[in-house]
Protein backbone atom coordinates (compact mmCIF):
# COMPACT_ATOMS: atom_id res chain seq x y z
CA UNK A 1 0.00 0.00 0.00
CA UNK A 2 1.59 3.21 -1.16
CA UNK A 3 2.14 6.26 0.98
CA UNK A 4 0.89 9.48 -0.61
CA UNK A 5 3.15 12.51 -0.07
CA UNK A 6 2.05 15.94 -1.28
CA UNK A 7 4.68 18.57 -2.04
CA UNK A 8 3.01 21.91 -1.46
CA UNK A 9 3.74 25.51 -0.46
CA UNK A 10 0.95 27.96 -1.20
CA UNK A 11 3.37 30.37 -2.84
CA UNK A 12 4.66 29.81 -6.35
CA UNK A 13 8.27 29.61 -7.44
CA UNK A 14 9.66 28.25 -4.17
CA UNK A 15 10.76 24.91 -5.61
CA UNK A 16 7.79 22.53 -5.38
CA UNK A 17 8.39 20.82 -8.69
CA UNK A 18 12.17 20.68 -8.18
CA UNK A 19 11.51 19.14 -4.77
CA UNK A 20 8.93 16.67 -6.12
CA UNK A 21 11.40 15.56 -8.76
CA UNK A 22 14.24 15.30 -6.26
CA UNK A 23 12.28 13.44 -3.60
CA UNK A 24 10.62 11.10 -6.09
CA UNK A 25 13.93 10.30 -7.76
CA UNK A 26 15.70 9.92 -4.43
CA UNK A 27 13.08 7.46 -3.14
CA UNK A 28 13.38 5.48 -6.36
CA UNK A 29 17.19 5.48 -6.06
CA UNK A 30 16.73 4.01 -2.59
CA UNK A 31 14.77 1.17 -4.17
CA UNK A 32 11.16 2.25 -3.62
CA UNK A 33 8.78 2.04 -6.56
CA UNK A 34 7.70 5.66 -6.91
CA UNK A 35 5.39 7.69 -9.12
CA UNK A 36 5.38 11.49 -9.28
CA UNK A 37 2.06 13.05 -10.30
CA UNK A 38 1.93 16.56 -11.76
CA UNK A 39 -1.25 18.20 -10.37
CA UNK A 40 -0.49 21.51 -12.07
CA UNK A 41 -2.98 20.96 -14.87
CA UNK A 42 -2.59 23.63 -17.54
CA UNK A 43 0.96 24.62 -16.49
CA UNK A 44 2.71 21.31 -16.90
CA UNK A 45 6.33 21.53 -15.72
CA UNK A 46 7.26 18.28 -14.04
CA UNK A 47 7.96 16.52 -17.34
CA UNK A 48 10.50 19.24 -18.21
CA UNK A 49 12.28 18.97 -14.87
CA UNK A 50 12.30 15.19 -15.26
CA UNK A 51 13.53 15.44 -18.85
CA UNK A 52 10.69 13.38 -20.32
CA UNK A 53 8.68 16.08 -22.08
CA UNK A 54 9.09 14.47 -25.49
CA UNK A 55 7.65 11.20 -24.29
CA UNK A 56 4.28 12.53 -23.06
CA UNK A 57 1.45 10.86 -24.98
CA UNK A 58 -1.43 10.67 -22.54
CA UNK A 59 -1.82 12.71 -19.33
CA UNK A 60 -3.49 12.77 -15.92
CA UNK A 61 -6.76 14.20 -17.29
CA UNK A 62 -6.95 11.48 -19.98
CA UNK A 63 -6.51 8.91 -17.23
CA UNK A 64 -9.21 10.48 -15.07
CA UNK A 65 -11.61 10.61 -18.01
CA UNK A 66 -10.91 6.97 -18.86
CA UNK A 67 -9.40 7.87 -22.23
CA UNK A 68 -6.23 5.96 -21.42
CA UNK A 69 -5.11 3.34 -18.90
CA UNK A 70 -2.34 3.48 -16.30
CA UNK A 71 0.20 1.56 -18.41
CA UNK A 72 -0.30 3.83 -21.41
CA UNK A 73 -0.13 7.02 -19.36
CA UNK A 74 2.75 6.49 -16.92
CA UNK A 75 6.16 7.46 -18.28
CA UNK A 76 8.96 5.25 -17.06
CA UNK A 77 12.15 7.12 -16.19
CA UNK A 78 15.15 6.03 -18.30
CA UNK A 79 17.75 6.63 -15.61
CA UNK A 80 16.09 5.02 -12.67
CA UNK A 81 14.42 1.62 -12.71
CA UNK A 82 11.76 2.25 -10.07
CA UNK A 83 10.62 5.73 -11.13
CA UNK A 84 7.47 6.76 -13.06
CA UNK A 85 5.97 10.12 -13.99
CA UNK A 86 2.31 10.95 -14.49
CA UNK A 87 2.29 14.21 -16.46
CA UNK A 88 -0.33 16.95 -16.26
CA UNK A 89 -2.42 18.04 -19.20
CA UNK A 90 -1.24 21.21 -20.86
CA UNK A 91 -4.48 21.95 -22.68
CA UNK A 92 -6.98 21.65 -19.83
CA UNK A 93 -7.51 23.50 -16.57
CA UNK A 94 -7.88 22.49 -12.93
CA UNK A 95 -11.62 21.95 -13.26
CA UNK A 96 -10.82 18.82 -15.26
CA UNK A 97 -9.75 17.17 -11.98
CA UNK A 98 -12.75 15.57 -10.29
CA UNK A 99 -12.35 14.31 -6.76
CA UNK A 100 -13.79 10.91 -7.66
CA UNK A 101 -11.49 10.65 -10.69
CA UNK A 102 -8.39 11.57 -8.67
CA UNK A 103 -9.35 9.11 -5.96
CA UNK A 104 -9.86 6.29 -8.47
CA UNK A 105 -6.46 6.90 -10.09
CA UNK A 106 -4.72 7.15 -6.70
CA UNK A 107 -6.36 3.93 -5.51
CA UNK A 108 -5.21 2.14 -8.62
CA UNK A 109 -1.64 3.46 -8.19
CA UNK A 110 -1.60 2.59 -4.49
CA UNK A 111 -1.75 -1.09 -5.30
CA UNK A 112 1.49 -1.26 -7.25
CA UNK A 113 3.62 1.60 -5.87
CA UNK A 114 5.45 2.29 -2.59
CA UNK A 115 5.32 6.08 -2.83
CA UNK A 116 3.05 8.49 -4.69
CA UNK A 117 4.42 12.04 -4.81
CA UNK A 118 1.81 14.69 -5.62
CA UNK A 119 3.36 17.85 -7.07
CA UNK A 120 0.89 20.57 -6.07
CA UNK A 121 0.23 23.70 -8.08
CA UNK A 122 0.75 27.06 -6.35
CA UNK A 123 -2.15 28.77 -4.65
CA UNK A 124 -4.81 27.49 -2.28
CA UNK A 125 -7.57 26.89 -4.81
CA UNK A 126 -9.04 23.73 -6.21
CA UNK A 127 -5.87 22.38 -7.84
CA UNK A 128 -3.83 22.72 -4.67
CA UNK A 129 -6.65 21.36 -2.51
CA UNK A 130 -7.04 18.38 -4.82
CA UNK A 131 -3.30 17.62 -4.64
CA UNK A 132 -3.31 17.58 -0.84
CA UNK A 133 -6.75 16.05 -0.22
CA UNK A 134 -5.68 12.38 -0.22
CA UNK A 135 -2.20 12.92 1.29
CA UNK A 136 -0.80 10.88 4.15
CA UNK A 137 2.19 13.17 4.54
CA UNK A 138 3.00 16.67 3.35
CA UNK A 139 6.31 18.28 2.50
CA UNK A 140 5.79 22.02 2.86
CA UNK A 141 8.38 23.79 0.71
CA UNK A 142 9.27 27.21 2.08
CA UNK A 143 11.79 29.88 1.13
CA UNK A 144 13.33 31.83 3.99
CA UNK A 145 11.34 34.99 3.34
CA UNK A 146 8.19 36.34 4.97
CA UNK A 147 5.64 35.94 2.19
CA UNK A 148 6.61 32.34 1.54
CA UNK A 149 6.41 31.60 5.27
CA UNK A 150 2.97 33.20 5.51
CA UNK A 151 1.67 31.18 2.55
CA UNK A 152 3.09 27.98 3.99
CA UNK A 153 1.30 28.78 7.22
CA UNK A 154 -1.92 29.16 5.27
CA UNK A 155 -1.48 25.86 3.45
CA UNK A 156 -0.78 24.12 6.77
CA UNK A 157 -4.13 25.40 8.00
CA UNK A 158 -5.78 23.95 4.91
CA UNK A 159 -4.03 20.61 5.42
CA UNK A 160 -5.43 20.52 8.92
CA UNK A 161 -8.97 21.35 7.91
CA UNK A 162 -9.60 20.31 4.32
CA UNK A 163 -7.63 17.11 3.78
CA UNK A 164 -9.44 13.79 3.69
CA UNK A 165 -7.73 12.75 6.92
CA UNK A 166 -9.00 15.90 8.64
CA UNK A 167 -12.52 15.49 7.30
CA UNK A 168 -12.67 11.82 8.24
CA UNK A 169 -11.19 12.51 11.69
CA UNK A 170 -8.25 10.16 11.04
CA UNK A 171 -4.70 10.69 12.23
CA UNK A 172 -3.70 14.11 10.84
CA UNK A 173 -1.51 14.50 7.76
CA UNK A 174 2.15 14.25 8.85
CA UNK A 175 3.78 17.60 8.10
CA UNK A 176 7.41 18.21 7.16
CA UNK A 177 9.10 21.56 6.65
CA UNK A 178 11.59 21.76 3.78
CA UNK A 179 13.48 25.05 3.53
CA UNK A 180 14.83 25.68 0.04
CA UNK A 181 17.10 28.34 -1.46
CA UNK A 182 18.75 28.79 1.92
CA UNK A 183 21.80 30.98 1.99
CA UNK A 184 23.67 30.89 5.33
CA UNK A 185 25.74 33.91 4.30
CA UNK A 186 22.65 36.03 3.76
CA UNK A 187 21.11 34.81 7.01
CA UNK A 188 24.27 35.87 8.80
CA UNK A 189 24.04 39.28 7.15
CA UNK A 190 20.46 39.59 8.40
CA UNK A 191 19.00 39.60 4.90
CA UNK A 192 17.22 36.27 5.16
CA UNK A 193 15.12 34.51 7.79
CA UNK A 194 17.03 31.83 9.66
CA UNK A 195 15.95 28.22 10.09
CA UNK A 196 14.90 28.95 13.64
CA UNK A 197 12.90 32.04 12.60
CA UNK A 198 10.90 29.94 10.15
CA UNK A 199 10.50 27.05 12.55
CA UNK A 200 9.33 29.40 15.26
CA UNK A 201 6.46 30.55 13.06
CA UNK A 202 5.48 27.32 11.33
CA UNK A 203 6.10 25.01 14.29
CA UNK A 204 6.42 21.78 12.33
CA UNK A 205 9.38 19.35 12.17
CA UNK A 206 12.22 20.28 9.82
CA UNK A 207 12.91 17.58 7.24
CA UNK A 208 15.65 19.39 5.37
CA UNK A 209 17.38 22.61 4.39
CA UNK A 210 18.41 22.87 0.76
CA UNK A 211 21.15 25.45 0.20
CA UNK A 212 20.82 27.94 -2.64
CA UNK A 213 22.84 26.36 -5.39
CA UNK A 214 23.60 26.92 -9.03
CA UNK A 215 23.37 23.18 -9.49
CA UNK A 216 19.57 23.33 -9.03
CA UNK A 217 18.98 25.64 -11.98
CA UNK A 218 21.42 23.67 -14.11
CA UNK A 219 19.69 20.43 -13.20
CA UNK A 220 16.26 21.85 -14.03
CA UNK A 221 17.38 23.10 -17.41
CA UNK A 222 18.95 19.75 -18.24
CA UNK A 223 15.90 17.80 -17.12
CA UNK A 224 18.03 15.96 -14.61
CA UNK A 225 16.77 15.89 -10.98
CA UNK A 226 19.39 17.42 -8.73
CA UNK A 227 19.77 14.28 -6.60
CA UNK A 228 21.69 12.69 -9.47
CA UNK A 229 24.37 15.33 -8.87
CA UNK A 230 26.14 14.01 -5.80
CA UNK A 231 28.82 16.69 -6.15
CA UNK A 232 26.30 19.43 -5.38
CA UNK A 233 25.40 20.42 -1.84
CA UNK A 234 21.74 20.71 -2.91
CA UNK A 235 21.71 17.12 -4.18
CA UNK A 236 23.25 15.86 -0.95
CA UNK A 237 20.86 17.94 1.14
CA UNK A 238 17.89 16.43 -0.72
CA UNK A 239 19.19 12.91 -0.12
CA UNK A 240 19.51 13.74 3.59
CA UNK A 241 15.93 15.03 3.60
CA UNK A 242 14.71 11.81 1.95
CA UNK A 243 16.52 9.80 4.62
CA UNK A 244 14.70 11.82 7.30
CA UNK A 245 11.37 11.31 5.50
CA UNK A 246 12.05 7.59 5.80
CA UNK A 247 12.64 8.01 9.52
CA UNK A 248 16.45 8.07 9.62
CA UNK A 249 18.22 10.36 12.07
CA UNK A 250 20.53 12.56 10.02
CA UNK A 251 22.17 15.71 11.29
CA UNK A 252 21.40 18.89 9.32
CA UNK A 253 24.28 20.33 7.35
CA UNK A 254 24.80 23.35 5.08
CA UNK A 255 23.34 25.59 7.80
CA UNK A 256 26.49 27.64 8.40
CA UNK A 257 28.45 29.86 6.03
CA UNK A 258 31.34 27.93 4.51
CA UNK A 259 34.25 29.38 2.69
CA UNK A 260 35.77 25.97 2.10
CA UNK A 261 34.26 23.42 -0.25
CA UNK A 262 32.18 20.61 1.12
CA UNK A 263 34.85 17.88 0.93
CA UNK A 264 37.45 20.14 2.47
CA UNK A 265 35.04 20.72 5.31
CA UNK A 266 34.47 16.99 5.76
CA UNK A 267 38.23 16.40 5.90
CA UNK A 268 38.57 19.32 8.29
CA UNK A 269 35.89 17.91 10.56
CA UNK A 270 37.45 14.47 10.77
CA UNK A 271 40.98 15.74 11.28
Amino acid sequence: MAKIIVVTSGKGGVGKTTTSAAIGTGLALKGFKTVIIDFDVGLRNLDLIMGCERRVVYDFVNLINGESNINQTLIKDKRCEQLYILPASQTRDKDALSQEGVERVLNELRESFDYIICDSPAGIEKGAQMALYFADEAVVVTNPEVSSVRDSDRILGILQSKSKRAEAGLEPVKEHLLLTRYSPERVKAGEMLSVSDVQDILAIPLVGVIPESEAVLKASNQGMPVVFDQQAAAGLAYMDAIGRLLGEEIEHRFLDPQKKGFFQRLLGATA
Partner: protein, 246 residues
Protein backbone atom coordinates in the same frame (compact mmCIF):
# COMPACT_ATOMS: atom_id res chain seq x y z
CA UNK B 1 -13.13 32.70 42.64
CA UNK B 2 -16.51 31.82 44.12
CA UNK B 3 -19.61 32.23 42.04
CA UNK B 4 -22.01 34.89 43.29
CA UNK B 5 -25.55 33.90 44.22
CA UNK B 6 -26.88 35.75 41.20
CA UNK B 7 -26.04 38.25 38.50
CA UNK B 8 -28.13 41.22 37.51
CA UNK B 9 -28.80 41.46 33.84
CA UNK B 10 -30.74 43.72 31.56
CA UNK B 11 -33.48 42.31 29.43
CA UNK B 12 -35.93 43.56 26.86
CA UNK B 13 -39.24 41.81 26.65
CA UNK B 14 -41.47 41.99 23.66
CA UNK B 15 -45.12 41.70 24.55
CA UNK B 16 -48.59 42.38 23.27
CA UNK B 17 -50.62 45.18 24.77
CA UNK B 18 -54.40 44.94 24.92
CA UNK B 19 -55.64 48.51 24.93
CA UNK B 20 -59.20 48.48 26.26
CA UNK B 21 -61.76 50.96 25.00
CA UNK B 22 -64.63 49.43 26.90
CA UNK B 23 -65.13 46.14 28.67
CA UNK B 24 -67.72 43.45 28.94
CA UNK B 25 -66.71 39.80 29.31
CA UNK B 26 -68.51 38.36 26.27
CA UNK B 27 -67.32 40.89 23.69
CA UNK B 28 -63.80 40.78 25.23
CA UNK B 29 -63.61 36.99 24.74
CA UNK B 30 -65.17 37.12 21.30
CA UNK B 31 -62.70 39.68 19.97
CA UNK B 32 -59.80 37.89 21.66
CA UNK B 33 -60.76 34.59 19.98
CA UNK B 34 -61.15 36.30 16.64
CA UNK B 35 -57.66 37.87 16.85
CA UNK B 36 -56.06 34.65 18.04
CA UNK B 37 -57.70 32.61 15.28
CA UNK B 38 -55.90 34.73 12.68
CA UNK B 39 -52.45 33.73 13.95
CA UNK B 40 -52.59 31.08 16.66
CA UNK B 41 -48.84 30.54 16.85
CA UNK B 42 -48.14 34.25 17.23
CA UNK B 43 -50.43 34.53 20.23
CA UNK B 44 -49.71 31.20 21.84
CA UNK B 45 -48.24 31.80 25.33
CA UNK B 46 -47.48 35.41 24.41
CA UNK B 47 -46.87 37.80 27.27
CA UNK B 48 -49.71 40.28 27.44
CA UNK B 49 -50.06 43.63 29.14
CA UNK B 50 -53.51 45.08 29.63
CA UNK B 51 -53.78 48.80 29.26
CA UNK B 52 -56.90 49.84 31.17
CA UNK B 53 -56.44 53.59 30.99
CA UNK B 54 -59.48 53.80 28.71
CA UNK B 55 -61.83 52.22 31.26
CA UNK B 56 -60.53 53.66 34.53
CA UNK B 57 -63.97 55.01 35.47
CA UNK B 58 -65.51 51.62 35.44
CA UNK B 59 -62.99 49.35 37.19
CA UNK B 60 -63.13 47.00 40.11
CA UNK B 61 -60.87 44.20 41.34
CA UNK B 62 -63.36 41.59 40.23
CA UNK B 63 -63.33 42.77 36.62
CA UNK B 64 -59.55 42.78 36.53
CA UNK B 65 -59.43 39.24 37.90
CA UNK B 66 -61.95 38.19 35.26
CA UNK B 67 -59.84 39.68 32.46
CA UNK B 68 -56.77 37.78 33.67
CA UNK B 69 -58.69 34.52 33.77
CA UNK B 70 -60.11 35.07 30.30
CA UNK B 71 -56.63 35.80 28.93
CA UNK B 72 -55.17 32.65 30.50
CA UNK B 73 -58.08 30.64 29.13
CA UNK B 74 -57.31 31.94 25.66
CA UNK B 75 -53.72 30.75 25.90
CA UNK B 76 -52.13 34.13 26.66
CA UNK B 77 -49.82 35.01 29.54
CA UNK B 78 -50.95 38.22 31.18
CA UNK B 79 -48.05 39.80 33.07
CA UNK B 80 -49.37 43.10 34.29
CA UNK B 81 -51.64 46.10 34.02
CA UNK B 82 -50.95 49.52 32.75
CA UNK B 83 -52.96 52.47 34.02
CA UNK B 84 -53.79 51.07 37.46
CA UNK B 85 -52.33 53.07 40.31
CA UNK B 86 -53.92 51.44 43.34
CA UNK B 87 -52.17 48.19 44.30
CA UNK B 88 -55.27 46.96 46.10
CA UNK B 89 -57.12 46.82 42.81
CA UNK B 90 -54.71 44.13 41.61
CA UNK B 91 -54.26 42.14 44.79
CA UNK B 92 -56.69 39.50 43.59
CA UNK B 93 -54.99 39.04 40.22
CA UNK B 94 -51.44 38.72 41.58
CA UNK B 95 -50.12 40.63 38.59
CA UNK B 96 -47.83 43.66 38.46
CA UNK B 97 -48.55 47.35 38.08
CA UNK B 98 -46.54 48.56 35.12
CA UNK B 99 -46.18 52.28 35.49
CA UNK B 100 -45.97 54.50 32.43
CA UNK B 101 -42.26 55.22 32.76
CA UNK B 102 -41.44 51.51 32.76
CA UNK B 103 -43.62 50.65 29.84
CA UNK B 104 -43.11 52.79 26.80
CA UNK B 105 -45.79 52.76 24.22
CA UNK B 106 -45.14 51.70 20.69
CA UNK B 107 -47.28 53.95 18.54
CA UNK B 108 -47.89 51.24 15.99
CA UNK B 109 -50.69 48.81 16.55
CA UNK B 110 -49.65 45.20 16.53
CA UNK B 111 -50.65 42.94 13.78
CA UNK B 112 -49.53 39.33 13.84
CA UNK B 113 -48.08 39.47 10.35
CA UNK B 114 -45.50 42.09 11.19
CA UNK B 115 -44.05 41.05 14.47
CA UNK B 116 -43.26 44.55 15.68
CA UNK B 117 -42.24 44.66 19.28
CA UNK B 118 -44.65 46.70 21.26
CA UNK B 119 -43.44 47.20 24.76
CA UNK B 120 -40.23 47.18 26.69
CA UNK B 121 -40.52 46.25 30.27
CA UNK B 122 -38.60 45.14 33.32
CA UNK B 123 -35.43 47.01 32.67
CA UNK B 124 -33.67 45.53 35.67
CA UNK B 125 -30.84 47.98 35.84
CA UNK B 126 -31.89 51.40 34.83
CA UNK B 127 -28.64 53.32 34.73
CA UNK B 128 -25.82 50.88 34.11
CA UNK B 129 -24.67 50.61 30.55
CA UNK B 130 -25.89 47.28 29.22
CA UNK B 131 -22.61 46.91 27.37
CA UNK B 132 -20.68 46.50 30.60
CA UNK B 133 -22.65 43.45 31.62
CA UNK B 134 -20.91 40.10 31.34
CA UNK B 135 -22.01 38.00 28.38
CA UNK B 136 -24.98 35.80 29.20
CA UNK B 137 -24.42 32.27 30.51
CA UNK B 138 -20.66 31.80 30.09
CA UNK B 139 -19.65 28.44 28.75
CA UNK B 140 -16.52 26.45 29.64
CA UNK B 141 -13.19 27.87 28.47
CA UNK B 142 -12.12 26.90 24.97
CA UNK B 143 -8.58 25.47 24.75
CA UNK B 144 -6.51 25.42 21.55
CA UNK B 145 -3.27 23.39 21.54
CA UNK B 146 -2.32 23.82 17.87
CA UNK B 147 -0.84 26.91 16.24
CA UNK B 148 -3.57 29.17 14.81
CA UNK B 149 -2.42 29.64 11.24
CA UNK B 150 -2.81 32.39 8.67
CA UNK B 151 -6.38 32.47 7.41
CA UNK B 152 -7.78 30.55 10.38
CA UNK B 153 -10.27 32.08 12.77
CA UNK B 154 -11.20 30.82 16.20
CA UNK B 155 -14.17 32.14 18.13
CA UNK B 156 -14.99 31.24 21.71
CA UNK B 157 -18.66 32.11 21.93
CA UNK B 158 -19.77 33.05 25.43
CA UNK B 159 -16.47 31.75 26.72
CA UNK B 160 -12.87 32.53 27.53
CA UNK B 161 -10.21 31.38 25.09
CA UNK B 162 -6.84 29.87 25.96
CA UNK B 163 -4.30 29.33 23.18
CA UNK B 164 -1.27 27.25 24.12
CA UNK B 165 0.56 27.82 20.85
CA UNK B 166 1.32 30.65 18.45
CA UNK B 167 -1.25 32.82 16.72
CA UNK B 168 0.44 33.51 13.41
CA UNK B 169 0.15 36.58 11.24
CA UNK B 170 -3.08 36.57 9.28
CA UNK B 171 -4.87 34.49 11.93
CA UNK B 172 -7.67 35.83 14.12
CA UNK B 173 -8.89 34.75 17.53
CA UNK B 174 -12.07 36.09 19.11
CA UNK B 175 -13.78 35.51 22.43
CA UNK B 176 -16.77 36.90 24.24
CA UNK B 177 -14.66 36.66 27.38
CA UNK B 178 -10.90 36.88 28.00
CA UNK B 179 -8.10 35.62 25.76
CA UNK B 180 -4.91 34.03 27.08
CA UNK B 181 -2.06 33.30 24.68
CA UNK B 182 0.90 31.21 25.86
CA UNK B 183 2.71 31.22 22.51
CA UNK B 184 3.51 34.26 20.42
CA UNK B 185 0.59 36.53 19.50
CA UNK B 186 1.34 37.66 15.95
CA UNK B 187 -2.15 37.78 14.47
CA UNK B 188 -5.29 39.51 15.69
CA UNK B 189 -6.89 39.03 19.09
CA UNK B 190 -10.32 40.43 19.96
CA UNK B 191 -11.68 39.93 23.46
CA UNK B 192 -15.14 40.82 24.69
CA UNK B 193 -16.51 40.92 21.16
CA UNK B 194 -20.09 41.11 22.44
CA UNK B 195 -19.22 44.24 24.35
CA UNK B 196 -17.82 43.02 27.66
CA UNK B 197 -15.64 45.96 28.64
CA UNK B 198 -14.09 44.00 31.50
CA UNK B 199 -12.58 41.43 29.14
CA UNK B 200 -8.79 41.29 28.91
CA UNK B 201 -6.11 39.83 26.69
CA UNK B 202 -3.06 38.19 28.27
CA UNK B 203 -0.08 37.14 26.21
CA UNK B 204 3.51 35.97 26.67
CA UNK B 205 4.89 37.54 23.50
CA UNK B 206 3.12 40.51 21.96
CA UNK B 207 3.64 41.02 18.24
CA UNK B 208 -0.04 41.38 17.38
CA UNK B 209 -1.32 42.94 14.20
CA UNK B 210 -4.35 44.15 16.11
CA UNK B 211 -5.74 43.86 19.62
CA UNK B 212 -9.25 44.79 20.66
CA UNK B 213 -11.42 44.75 23.76
CA UNK B 214 -15.16 45.34 23.39
CA UNK B 215 -14.64 46.77 19.92
CA UNK B 216 -12.02 49.32 20.96
CA UNK B 217 -8.89 48.37 19.06
CA UNK B 218 -5.27 49.25 18.48
CA UNK B 219 -3.05 48.38 15.54
CA UNK B 220 0.51 47.17 16.06
CA UNK B 221 1.89 50.57 15.02
CA UNK B 222 0.12 52.20 17.95
CA UNK B 223 1.30 49.73 20.55
CA UNK B 224 4.28 51.26 22.38
CA UNK B 225 7.61 49.82 21.27
CA UNK B 226 8.59 48.86 24.82
CA UNK B 227 5.77 46.31 24.94
CA UNK B 228 6.68 44.61 21.67
CA UNK B 229 7.65 40.96 22.14
CA UNK B 230 7.02 41.31 25.89
CA UNK B 231 4.50 39.58 28.11
CA UNK B 232 1.59 41.93 28.72
CA UNK B 233 -2.04 42.24 29.53
CA UNK B 234 -4.40 44.44 27.53
CA UNK B 235 -7.50 45.94 29.07
CA UNK B 236 -9.86 48.87 28.91
CA UNK B 237 -9.54 51.81 31.29
CA UNK B 238 -12.06 54.61 30.83
CA UNK B 239 -12.75 53.34 27.33
CA UNK B 240 -9.05 53.48 26.41
CA UNK B 241 -7.11 50.39 25.49
CA UNK B 242 -4.19 50.03 27.89
CA UNK B 243 -1.18 47.72 27.51
CA UNK B 244 0.44 46.76 30.81
CA UNK B 245 3.58 44.73 31.38
CA UNK B 246 3.10 41.55 33.33
Amino acid sequence: MTEECFHLKGNILTSIVIELNHYDPSSFVALLQEKIAKAPSFFSQSPVIMDVRGILDNLDPHKLKEMVTLCFDSGLQPIGFKGVSDPDMLSETGLAILSDDIVRDNPQSVSPQEKTESVESNQANDSANAATLPPPSMRPTKFIDQPVRSGQQIYAQNANLVILSNINKGAEVLADGDIHVYGALRGRALAGVKGDMNARIFCQHLEAELVSVAGIFQLSDNIPQKHQKQSVQILLQDENLIVKSL
